[in-house]
Amino acid sequence: MIWVETLINGALLGGLYGLLGIGLALVFGVMRVVNIAHGEFMVLSAFCAVLLSNLFPQVSPLLMLIPVIALSFAVGWLYQALIVNRVVTSPDPLSPLLLTFGVSVILRNVMVEIFGADVRSLQVGELSRASLEVAGLNIGIMPLLTLVLAALLFMALQLVLRHTEFGRIVRATADRRDIVRLSGVKPDRVYNYVMGLSLALGAIGGVLLAVRSSFTPFSGAERLLIAFEVVVLGGLGSFWGALLGGIALGMAQLIGLKIDPNAGLLYAHLLFFIMLLIRPSGLVSSRV
């Protein structure tokens, strides 16, 4: 019974991991850039939520998501417009990778210097402890809500990309950045919105993960690695795949923690690496 509960909790955690991955997948899908600073931006949004809830203690921290999402969108827009757009068309595929890695180092150390290296977490009071009893299984309300929210966001994103004008422009830019210009689309402008959207999605994941477990300015690296593993396991271009990849990693992590309480992310990393060995065909990046 305890194992069934572990699997269910792993699946619920997986919804959150899917959220971490989807922002990274979106940017990679549209502009072929792996944004190494994605994890640091998530941690930054969690710090913003903590600051805001310290300023307004009477407001529920979950409502803080709204200003944090808006802020993250703006930060993403500026980050793309001022920095990433300068290398996105570089003939060398390594340039965006190195640049975003540099940005991640800057962000991490700025956060260490400003907020200190202490362990933080976001308290949501009763909600984080509330749980449901279903057939003798104990299921947390908060993780359940997270999974539902993740599924809703995935659906919404799918709808936006498939059926709206904005979605069509984004898909067209992803396919042929040079040709869309003929229709009056500015690819750089599209990229700005996509990065904003990516960091806004990352902010949701980052804040919810901060509710679930504590974080430090150094947590960005492990969040990036999880997000990356989600994207690779799920297969590129598939949002539902990302959700499934997240669920697989969440289960691997919680089963690992049951066997060995201080394993951390080790078992999630191992699952990723084993998949890399046995199913490489689905993992090889498609080159443009």
């Binding site: 190494i36 190195l98 540099g102 800057i106 080790l266 993992l283």
Partner: protein, 332 residues
């Protein structure tokens, strides 16, 4: 040749001139320069960016500490173990990793380093989280320890740079660079891409293993948090990016900037290590945007200096041999 003799003489004589603190700093510079050259061999010449190179540093260092403890011999005599272990690990891990390209390779390397780091922290046989001291440190002659470390680091750096220069002017280096510039074109003229990348990867791991072993031997202590620190990759990357990726002189310039800035910011300016990394990161990002190939290539083109250039002049096009036409002769 003459300059090589001068360099050897400088390195041989330096410990008699410099004080101990300065000597330690110089040793650190030289070791980091070797690591940066090794990272550059992979990123700048083979086109593979590794964000997990700290794993080879850690493998080399742990190999040295453990073998020296088991055999109970002075660590210097078991130094060859470090590059061998790192190279063996690289040769094995290359098989799954080489299926991945670009950013996928980079991050999968990082995940690999995280996995090995997590296992190291769990394993009591290698000291777990608290690490292990160098068991044979009592066999070391401490009167000569700092100078010996400096000579080893200096020797390693010179050998590394000379070997890289030799390699890049050989057909292997030419093949490697052709793969970096255009792998499709390289393959079509018969360059074995995978094989070249594999050799570069294994050599790069071996060099980092040896430099890492020397670095932790100087501390007489190793702990997983320091050995598997992603900052090793950050340092190597920043030095290479700022100085000039894909050149042999670039990392040398990069190391001067790296340590110059560190001594300036954490010394006279009294800033913390965090702000130093912020400053270094900003320089790296600005360099990547303004001069994507790094400072050295930009300087070289402006000043026309050639130091360790492996650039080859293209053969003169056959057209040049045709005698000028009448009209050219008249106007010329």
């Amino acid at each position: 040749m003459a300059s090589a003799i001068v360099l050897v003489a400088v390195i041989a004589g330096a410990p008699f001139v410099l004080n101990e603190g300065f000597l330690r700093l110089a040793t650190e510079c030289l070791l980091l320069l070797t690591m940066a050259q090794m990272w550059n061999l992979l990123a700048g010449y083979a086109g593979l960016v590794s964000l997990g190179h700290q794993v080879f540093i850690a493998f080399g260092a742990y190999a040295l500490f453990l073998t020296s403890g088991w055999l109970e011999v002075t660590p210097i005599w078991v130094l060859p173990v470090a590059p061998l272990v790192a190279a063996a690990v690289a040769a094995i891990i290359a098989f799954p990793l080489f299926r991945l390209r670009d950013a996928y390779f980079s991050i999968a390397m990082w995940v690999f380093a995280e996995i090995i780091g997590a296992f190291t922290m769990k394993s009591q046989a290698v000291g777990g989280t608290s690490g292990v001291p160098l068991a044979t440190s009592k066999l070391i002659d401490f009167d000569w320890f700092e100078p010996t470390m400096f000579w080893l680091a200096g020797g390693l750096t010179l050998v590394t740079i000379a070997a890289l220069y030799k390699m890049m002017t050989s057909s292997f280096g030419l093949g490697l660079m052709s793969v970096r510039d255009n792998d499709l074109a390289a393959m079509s003229v018969g360059v074995d891409v995978r094989h070249n990348r594999f050799i570069a990867f294994v050599l790069s791991a071996a060099g980092c293993g040896l430099a890492g072993a020397l670095s932790f031997m100087g501390n007489l202590f190793i702990a997983p948090l320091a050995a598997f620190d992603v900052n090793w990759s950050v340092y190597m990357m920043f030095i290479v990016i700022i100085g000039g990726i894909g050149t042999l002189e670039g990392p040398i310039l990069g190391v001067f900037i790296f340590f110059g800035l560190r001594e300036l910011m954490t010394g006279p300016l009294g800033l913390s290590g965090g702000w130093y990394l912020v400053g270094l990161g900003i320089i790296a990002v600005v360099v990547m945007i303004v001069a994507p190939r790094g400072i050295w290539p930009a300087l070289r083109d402006r000043l026309g200096v050639r130091l360790l250039d492996v650039h080859r002049a293209a053969p003169r096009p056959a057209v040049a041999a045709i005698p000028p036409t009448t009209s050219e002769r008249v106007t010329g």
